[in-house]
């Protein structure tokens, strides 16, 4: 009798699990591909070669027209992050169980706002805001801000809840009022984390603001949409290169800043 890793019962359960997964996968696959046009799928290698040959080489001279959208993209990300952070800070203090003024009303309300903001992607926020405010940078900035509120708010309120109670008690023992406790005991403890979170979110926002223009919210995505509409593949490739470069640069910057902070 050979040694075996699992008991017979565990092996049976494992096989059952795999069987159920495969069955579920096959069923879902059937539902999903109900309306797929397999002609297009079979045609894909030829289409890929076709688009590839049209896109190469990228149109380098198009860069002249991309500086303005690039600046817009950076502004959407930066101003959006600032606006989001400004809204997130009070929300985080309301949501943290040790600083909230009312545990029954304000804390659940703040938590609900944070969750709602987090579960809607910034592209969907942009879609809504473009429909309401009209196309342009403003819709993009507000979309980025609304998505950032939940992210920064959640991480910041967790940081506030993890502050050292002894330091707060020491400051309270000197006779400090609530505002002074906030200023001298809580803020110094969460400040580095807070700046780190903001820079991290800024980095994510650069990625997201590059594509917000697809729904009309300004920046590089708007040029991408325009080039796609006229099937100008060399321009599309050029924009993708610029987006990739921006993303890599912002990742490098945020990595540097966060390492300096910690």
């Amino acid at each position: 009798m050979n040694w075996q890793h699992r008991t017979p019962r565990a092996r049976l359960a494992l096989w059952g699990f795999w069987f159920a997964t495969v069955a579920l996968f096959v069923w879902c696959w059937g539902l999903m591909t109900e309306r797929t046009m397999w002609v297009f799928v079979q045609d894909a290698p030829r289409a890929a070669a076709d688009i590839g040959s049209r896109a190469w080489p990228p149109r380098w001279s198009y860069m002249e027209q991309l500086w303005q959208p690039l600046w817009d993209t950076l502004n959407i990300a930066t101003l959006g992050t600032l606006l989001g952070v400004v809204m997130a800070v009070p929300l985080a203090f309301l949501a943290a169980s040790n600083t909230t003024p009312s545990r029954l009303v304000l804390r659940p309300a703040a938590l609900l706002l944070i969750v709602a903001s987090r579960s809607i992607n910034s592209l969907i926020w942009a879609l809504l805001l473009v429909s309401i405010l009209g196309p342009g940078l403003l819709a993009g900035i507000i979309a980025i801000a609304f998505r950032s509120v939940g992210f920064v708010g959640k991480l910041l309120y967790e940081a506030i809840e993890e502050t050292d109670v002894r330091q707060i008690e020491a400051v309270t023992a000197t006779g400090a009022g609530p505002a002074q406790v906030l200023h001298y005991a809580i803020v110094p403890q969460v400040l580095p984390t807070f700046l780190g979170i903001s820079v991290f979110r800024w980095d994510i926002n650069i990625r997201e603001s590059a594509i917000l223009g697809l729904v009309g919210a300004g920046g590089l995505g708007m040029q991408l949409q325009a080039s796609l509409n006229v099937l100008a593949w060399p321009q599309v490739l050029m924009i993708c290169i610029v987006i990739l470069g921006t993303v890599i640069a912002s990742e490098w910057v945020s990595g540097k800043v966060r390492r300096a902070l910690i």
């Binding site: 591909t33 309306r35 502004n75 101003l79 579960s119 879609l127 809504l128 429909s131 009209g134």
Partner: protein, 265 residues
């Protein structure tokens, strides 16, 4: 000799006075330049306020029935796309992740797998979706491929990092029994990384649903396409209903996956 009678909190992040002033000046200059480049059409915004009110009204009184056929079809596409792409993505990312771990893969394989991961991680889902829609036509199949591609980079990287951090002593003990490379993976590596892999898979399932709600905007199937259509028709009741469904599913899946991960630990 006089001494200060009040105490001020010393600066915490930037200690030098020169850099503090320079940084605030730089921030001020940037802000004025950036705010100037945002030109807002206030008449359009004022017109939009009325539409914003209608949207909020639509969100508060969601209309599930009028477009239920479209909504349910988008939802089925999103959910099936999420599941199939997560399963396929994990199945593909396991060999990539094993190949990208430096301690068990040869150098050339490590370089190839790490570059696959880097490409997959640095391209946004939306841009990948645009290309797949151009290649494979509109619909859920392009979305499935997009999410699978994104899953490979995500799971592959985290799995590779996890394998690189395993306890080398356990792997060595297995190797000392004369185990082959497959047996080493099966008995030395897999038990160490499995709990984390299951947790990551659940997390990715959650992310894939969120993304599946977005890539529909560029034509890759799913609930995002339905949302886009209802917004461009200004049907805010249906749009509110779709958003509520998305929020409910995201919250439910986040709760379920955090419970499952807590239970696995």
């Amino acid at each position: 000799m006089s001494h200060p009678t009040t105490w001020r909190r010393p600066p915490q992040i930037v200690k030098s006075r020169f850099w503090r002033i320079a940084l605030s000046l730089g921030a001020l200059v940037y802000l004025t330049l950036a705010l100037q480049s945002v030109d807002v059409n206030w008449t359009r915004v004022a017109e939009g306020m009325e539409r914003g009110q209608r949207f909020i009204a639509g969100f508060l009184t969601p209309d599930f029935t009028t477009r239920w056929r479209d909504i349910s079809q988008g939802l089925v596409e999103s959910l099936t796309m999420t599941l199939t792409s997560t399963v396929a993505g994990i199945a593909l990312s396991i060999p990539v992740g094993i190949g990208a771990a430096r301690n068990i893969a040869p150098r050339w394989l490590h370089a190839i797998c790490r570059s696959i991961i880097a490409v997959s991680r640095s391209l946004q889902e939306i841009i990948v979706a645009i290309f797949f829609v151009a290649l494979f036509g509109f619909g859920a199949f392009a979305g499935f491929l997009t999410l699978t591609f994104a899953t490979i980079g995500f799971i592959g990287k985290l799995l590779a990092d996890d394998i690189e951090e395993i306890d080398a002593k356990q792997a060595e003990a297995i190797r000392a029994t004369g185990a082959s490379w497959w047996q080493l993976i099966n008995y030395g590596v897999q038990p160490q990384v499995m709990p984390r892999l299951i947790g990551l898979s659940l997390y990715r399932l959650d992310i894939n649903f969120r993304e599946s709600a977005v890539i529909g905007i560029v034509g890759a199937g799913g609930i995002g396409g339905t949302l886009d259509t209802s917004l461009s028709r200004y049907e805010y009741g249906s749009a509110g209903a779709i958003l509520l469904i998305i929020i409910a599913i995201v919250m439910a899946s986040e709760y379920a996956s955090s419970r499952m991960r807590g239970w696995l630990k």
